[in-house]
């Protein structure tokens, strides 16, 4: 994983992105329009036979949620959280308990 850009290190928040793996239809909108190009297509298929995005450069994520605005399948979104907050980010995190069902 590439180093975080210097700007990211001095920020008081970090971006985190959540992907609902099986809801994705592989359109690529999130990958194309993510300003710092955090995402890329996975080589793997989801349950419906699409290639969802995975994190390629997670430290660059600003949490702008443009991916969330673009995703026509409500399968991804970004948030900003204070850098002290704990949980490690990662792909394949259910967006909500309901979505995981």
């Amino acid at each position: 994983m590439p180093e975080a850009p210097p700007a990211a290190k001095s920020r008081k928040f970090r971006g985190r992105v959540f992907i609902n793996w099986d809801r994705c239809k592989g359109c690529g909108f999130c990958i194309e329009f993510c300003p710092p190009k955090v995402l890329k297509f996975s080589d793997k298929f989801n349950n419906h036979g699409y290639h969802p995005p995975i994190l390629e450069n997670e430290p660059a994520c600003t949490g702008c949620d443009l991916c969330g605005l673009y995703c026509p399948d409500f399968a991804i979104f970004g948030i900003r959280e204070a850098v002290s907050a704990g949980v490690p980010a990662g792909a394949d995190v259910p967006a909500s308990p309901a979505a995981a069902a």
């Binding site: 959540f18 359109c27 969330g68």
Partner: protein
Amino acid sequence: MSVSPAINPVEPFLRTERMPHIWCPGCGIGTTVNCFSRALVDSKLPLDKVAVVSGIGCTGRVAGYVKLDSFHTTHGRAIPFATGLKLANPSLNVVVYSGDGDLIAIGGNHFIHAARRNVDIKVICVNNFIYGMTGGQVAPTTPLGATATTSPYGCFEAPFNLPFLAESSGAVYVARWTAYHVRHIAHSMVEAFKKKGFAFIEILAPCPTLYQRRNKLGDGLETMRYYKQHSVIKNGASTRELKLDLKGEITVGKFVDIERPTLQDAMDQRYREVLKESYCGRGGA
């Protein structure tokens, strides 16, 4: 894998048990729903005072997917239903969410008259230039030369210019964006929700399955890139001059933002003048 309390901002507005939705990969309709959810949050409207009315079609499905009071009407009849809803229950914020085929073809007459009367409803029209759900027939928005199942040699009928139609019919707020302009769409929706009267937002959106495929315009993503490259924002532009063809520049922006009495206000004023004290007003007031 960790489970996070973070939830997708659109999630509280969805009937998640109905997901995944029926829209095709790369269809732009879902993108507009994200914008709608952000606009609802930003405008702080009480959600039990928001009602969504759709007609038939791919965009018409929005009424069935949003976790708000909603009604899926017969083809073309979203606006008359919404008009009745607003007149009978003036405190509701009534949003009509439908496609170009439903709103402008089948329901075209309702559209112009609701704008003329300045009914206080917000109309969001997702324009994909074709009848989607019914199989890719030509619509009154299909650009000249574009192919549809019912125009195999290319469309030869001049299409409507929707913002011009809305403005000349009397709409008080008119904007056009593409599905690429997500933040602009959300901002326009917030403005439209604040507006009293007939507000109209046209959103051009990819229909990769029918329109783009038949016209060899690539997939949804290619269309989004095309929108990004070819859209020119001209706020306040004369709606008569707006550009939108099969290929070429697309004029987007907010074109109209004016005030004039709504149907309800005009009715109250007239009846008060004529009937004086014997007019008891609407809603038993």
